[in-house]
């Protein structure tokens, strides 16, 4: 590699200028000649039988070109095959792109219209006449499992779609030798990342192929869906700019790709469908509501020796993501702790609510919440300090690489140091002192007169400190750990490609195997290529966004699973390294020098270490520029070495060198659920208004180990965004359903996401501990702070309310919930 000057720098974003100046190209910016616009009719009921659907009146509306009813959709397409997200599904259930005989959640698609304009399509939707037979809706886990509850799927017999268990170590023995068993029940609610851009698809059908341009995070899912559902042999998936993914755009979008494609086939015209905000809120996919019953076997000194967790997941109205929120808990099942004996029992309950989908960490925020709430509870019950209890259980630096009992290998980590730094940065002792002073004042205020009428605003200060791992780099075989005997292991391991090419003018273009959703992949990849090839990032650009026909995609080509840092970085680095070899081979021939004597700097190949010798330019010694080499490579074979393979481009597929052991689950259910493990300590300081229950976050400190940082500004951006989301989740954003299964939070206004005014300044310190197994020592950063932040806020609020003896068990900590906690 050339000198490292760009890796590690806060290089200016390559993508941001176009995104913030309206020059991005999103699906909705695209138009095609003769293009039609689609709109979807959605169920107003949470649970109902579809008796009949009549579209005659809609078809007669001028400008309407096609209407597809459930009967049409059933006749023209095949159901999806249950994928790994439904690993727990053991009964064959046919799921089509729309509801066929029954609707199972309000907002489920029923019919789709293509018309000359979107406005006409929306008018047509109102003319479709559907007869429903409403059924009792199960709007909660409790309703769904109650005796006599109406099953969503008769085939399953009940609304418990899956039950199972993973167990590591000897849990019973651990519990038998415990000094104490600490029990708690915890709950996390439904929310979503609400990306700025909802789903969007543009389908174009030609005799040669179906081309679908959509904002999918996982184009392979769309590719599979179109192949399976439409029986198409030739499918091309293109992904232009994407306005945020966060997991939302991995799974359910396939339904809409199929529906849009069906219209394109039927009308023989390009069809575009853009989801609106309310559609996305009701049907675009939610995170999973999770209930936990936890028992921890502990020693008197705070050591946790065993854990039993019963997890009930409310998966909503589809079997297609039946077990992902369970299986994703395998990724951070042991968090940062040394416990060796653990049982996780799962139950997936179907309810008449929006299906659940991956969402920034999937089950991981829930798993971290369990660990970190339990650490506080154990400390309280044993009369120990909560941070000391955590320290007692941390995996020590000397133990790395560390294999968790369920098969994850943590490459590196310094968890104690993360805590030390977080405590120092947040001035933990100072906060405790202020808290003690303030509690005295508040106690006097609350017990008697409020004093001056205009001085009455008692607030309580609280602090919470938590720690969590952030797994990165997916191994999708993980989802099959609940069925280790299965022969089907879709998505096992991790392979990703990249192409890097030197153009005739000496500039560099590259292509990645996966799409970007706004995480600065172009910027980051260019920094790596710049250092490997020895050329300025200004001369490097992304050739094209994802195109399945052009992009070098592999097993893990997905903007999900915290993949980029591991797979794309490895692929780009590998491709650039090989291209450098090729470039030097050509340069050595041109300069008539031994390759080993050549150095590259800023797009020039020199003989010897010219910079060290003081040479400033090619003129001061024998040298050749990338552009001169490009000229030869593209237009003059006579100057190439004998046997030189033409072209200055390399495609390289990277696979994780340590994908094994345990790429596939063993008979004990042990599997490498993910491959890298970042970690972070979070310290939150909150003030609670005792009268209104309002929580204000006054400090938020993160000390983060994301391994070697390629662009600290990009990593900061990921941390800011994920922390802001996690804090908002903890404080009040979320979906609320009525008892009839109607979503009451259909707009962003009602959904209640925090704005910048509620979001604290997030203070970040990086403490990078390089990963010994990755290309540059890098670790993941995409899900990051969304995993521990709900737990940090819960911890801080509980601490603030400790004068009331309050236990925080549920999220969100909306003002009313906090007020109710205070007032019993």
């Amino acid at each position: 590699m050339a000198d490292i000057t760009h890796i590690g720098s806060r290089a200016r974003s390559k993508e941001a200028p176009r995104h913030v100046s309206g020059r991005g190209q999103y699906v909705d910016d695209l138009s095609r000649p003769r293009m039609l616009h689609a709109c979807i009719l959605r169920s107003p009921y949470a649970h109902a039988r579809i008796i009949s659907v009549r579209a005659d009146a809609a078809m007669k509306l001028p400008g309407v070109r096609a209407v597809l009813t459930p009967a049409d959709i059933k006749a023209l397409s095949q159901p999806f095959k249950p994928g790994r997200y439904a690993a727990g599904l053991r009964v064959p259930i046919a799921e089509y792109a729309s509801a066929i005989e029954k609707v199972r959640y309000a907002g489920e698609p029923i019919a789709i219209v293509a018309a000359d304009t979107r406005a006409i399509a929306e008018d047509a939707i109102e003319l479709i006449d559907v007869d429903y037979e409403p059924l009792p809706a199960a709007a909660s886990i409790e309703d769904a499992v109650a005796d006599g509850a109406t099953p969503l799927y008769e085939e399953l017999g009940s609304n418990v779609g899956w039950q199972g268990k993973v167990s590591y170590g000897d849990v019973d023995a651990a519990f038998a030798r415990a000094d104490r068993i600490v029990r708690e029940s915890l709950k996390i609610h439904r929310y979503s990342s609400t990306p700025l851009e909802p789903f969007a698809c543009l389908a174009e059908h030609s005799p040669e192929r179906m081309t679908i341009t959509c904002n999918s995070q996982s184009p392979d899912v769309i590719y599979e869906a179109l192949s399976e559902a439409l029986g198409l042999d030739a499918v091309r998936v293109r992904v232009p700019d994407v306005g945020g993914g966060f997991g939302q755009k991995i799974h359910l979008i396939r339904k809409y790709a199929v529906l849009t494609a069906l219209l394109a086939v039927k009308t023989r015209r390009p069809v575009k469908w853009i989801e609106d905000r309310s559609e996305h809120m009701m049907a675009g996919g939610h995170s999973c509501e999770q209930e936990f019953d936890v028992e921890a076997a502990v020693k008197a000194d705070g050591e946790v020796i065993g854990m039993k967790i019963r997890d009930t997941d409310d998966v909503g109205g589809s079997v297609s993501t039946l077990t992902i929120h369970f299986t994703n808990k395998l990724n951070n099942l042991f968090n940062t702790y040394t416990v060796q004996h653990l049982t996780l029992e799962g139950r997936s309950v179907l309810t008449n609510k929006c299906p659940v989908v991956p969402n920034r960490g999937i089950g991981k925020p829930g798993m971290c919440f369990v660990w970190e709430r339990m650490m506080d509870r154990i400390a309280q019950e044993l009369g120990l300090d909560a941070i000391a209890v955590r320290r007692r259980n941390l995996i020590p630096p000397s133990a790395f690489p560390y294999t968790t009992p369920n098969g994850n290998i943590y490459g590196s980590g310094e968890y104690d140091t993360l805590l030390d730094k977080a405590l120092k940065n947040v001035d933990y002792d100072g906060v405790r002192q202020r808290q003690a002073t303030q509690r005295g004042l508040v106690a006097r205020t609350l017990s008697g007169s409020r004093g001056e009428p205009d001085k009455a605003r008692p607030t309580l200060l609280g602090i919470g400190v938590v720690i969590g791992v952030e797994p990165g780099g997916r191994n999708a075989a993980r989802d099959m750990a609940i069925f280790p005997k299965s022969k089907q292991m879709p998505g096992a391991g991790g392979v990703e490609g990249a192409t890097v090419k030197i153009e005739k003018n000496g500039s560099v273009v590259f292509t990645l195997g996966s799409p970007s959703c706004g995480q600065s992949h172009e910027t980051t990849a260019a920094q790596i290529i710049a250092d490997v090839l020895g050329v300025s990032p200004d001369r490097i650009s992304l050739a094209t966004t994802y195109d399945s026909a052009l992009s070098p995609w592999g097993v893990s080509s997905s903007n999900s699973g915290n993949n980029f840092h591991l797979y794309d970085v490895g692929a780009v680095h590998g491709a650039a390294t090989r291209l450098r070899e090729k470039l030097l081979t050509l340069a050595a021939h041109v300069l008539k020098e031994d390759m080993g004597r050549l150095t590259i700097e800023d797009g020039m190949v020199y003989v010897g270490r010219l910079r060290e010798a003081g040479a400033k330019s090619a003129a001061s010694g024998p040298a050749v520029s990338f552009a001169e080499l490009g000229k030869i490579a593209y237009s003059n074979q006579a100057q190439m070495p004998p046997g030189f393979e033409g072209g200055l481009q390399v495609t390289y597929f990277h696979s994780h060198p340590h994908a094994d052991p345990l790429m596939l689950p063993d008979s004990e259910g042990r599997v490498r659920a993910q491959y890298t493990f970042s970690s972070a300590a979070h310290a939150a300081v909150v003030e609670v208004d005792v009268e209104t229950g309002r929580v204000r976050v006054v400090r938020y400190v993160i000390v983060s180990d994301n391994g070697t940082l390629i662009n600290p500004a990009v990593v900061d951006g990921q941390i800011y965004g994920s922390a802001a989301h996690g804090i908002s989740v903890a404080l009040g954003e979320g979906f609320v359903y009525g008892s009839d299964g109607q979503l009451l939070t259909l707009t962003l206004l009602d959904y209640g996401k925090s704005t910048t005014l509620e979001t604290p300044h997030i203070e970040i310190e990086h403490h990078p501990v390089p990963d010994p197994f990755t290309t540059l020592g890098q670790k993941a950063a995409g899900e990051g702070a969304a995993i521990p932040s709900p737990a940090a806020i819960a911890s801080a609020v509980e601490d603030a309310l400790s004068p009331f003896g309050v236990k925080v068990r549920d999220l969100p900590l909306s003002p009313e919930r906090v007020w109710r906690l205070i007032n019993g």
């Binding site: 979107r118 001085k455 009268e691 209104t692 009451l744 009602d750 925090s754 005014l757 003002p815 007020w819």
Partner: protein, 296 residues
């Protein structure tokens, strides 16, 4: 996402607007700021067949003093009120409301009179202006009439406005010296509708509360005057025990309904807390202390 088809008119004068309203009656809607109407049309909650855009009518953007009254034209935006030095001087309670309404984009477009005509139970202006001496000016082909705000809004989203009529403006009595008011709003997050809100406007005679107006927002089908609390306070000196009585009476006056913003019990409780904080602000201002808007 797209409204149903409608016909659009942009009259140049109030007379033209009235003529259109007279012609189309209930099928017509007036577009001023459009910050409630347009989202409702996009969601197809409202599907007017005729839209009468009054933004081109001159002379409706007034925000001026006329003797002892503040005159607010139908096209006066929330942001105009928020930026007005006159309003800050004579009715700082309105400055509070202008800054707490929705977000900057809405405040730049939405109008005060439009909020009154829309009569959202959780709207800020209905709550604030109910605590003041507010008149609504209404024009129709038959002439111009003036109605007190207390009579104008009859229920949630329901006013006295007849088909063919248009609100051309508001006027608000400017309080005498030694008066002060404050508007306090509890919202789940910045820019949201109120979970509950309270406006308090008082006038002092020395340390005696010469007059007290308390208006509660978002805790009933329309703004509620807490008259029992007002009566208890009037003619007395503010004391902790008196304010505790007032707080209790405010809670009793609230008639909240449960929704995603809160339960009946919580909203009722909040009304009491907000009353105390708004009263404290009103008292400060009545005593000549300049205070900025109280944030919850």
């Amino acid at each position: 996402m797209y409204p149903s088809e409608f016909e659009y008119f942009a009259p140049q004068t109030v007379a033209e607007a009235i003529a259109l309203l007279a012609r189309y009656g209930d099928d017509a809607k007036v577009l001023a700021g459009g910050q409630s109407l347009v989202p409702m049309m996009k969601l197809r909650i409202a599907s007017p067949r005729y839209l009468i855009d009054i933004n081109r009518i001159e002379g409706l953007s007034d925000l001026r003093r006329d003797g002892d009254r503040l005159v607010i034209g139908a096209l006066c935006r929330h942001a105009d009120v928020g930026a007005s030095a006159l309003v800050r001087e004579v009715l700082p309670i309105m400055t509070d409301a202008a800054g707490l309404t929705a977000d900057i984009q809405v405040r730049n477009r939405g109008t005060v009179a439009g909020s009154i005509a829309h009569a959202d139970p959780a709207g800020d202006w209905p709550a604030v202006l109910a605590a003041l001496d507010t008149d609504v000016t209404i024009a129709a082909t038959s002439g111009v009439r003036t109605v007190p705000l207390s009579a104008f809004i009859v229920d949630g989203y329901t006013t006295q406005l007849e088909p063919g009529e248009i609100v051309t403006g508001l006027s608000v009595g400017i309080p005498p010296a030694h008066a002060g008011g404050a508007y306090v709003k509890f919202e789940k997050r910045a820019g949201d509708f109120a979970v509950a809100s309270v406006a308090v406007q008082i006038a002092l005679d020395g340390t005696t509360l010469r007059s007290v107006a308390i208006s509660l927002g978002a805790v009933g089908p329309a703004a509620i005057r807490a008259t029992a609390a007002e009566q208890v306070l009037q003619g007395r000196e503010a004391s902790e025990s008196l304010l505790m009585d007032g707080e209790r009476l405010v809670r009793e006056a609230a008639q909240p309904f449960a929704d995603t913003r809160g339960s009946v019990e919580y909203k009722r409780h909040l009304a009491g807390v907000l009353f105390r904080r708004a009263f404290a602000g009103a008292l400060d201002r009545a005593n000549g202390r300049e205070i900025s808007t109280i944030h919850m």
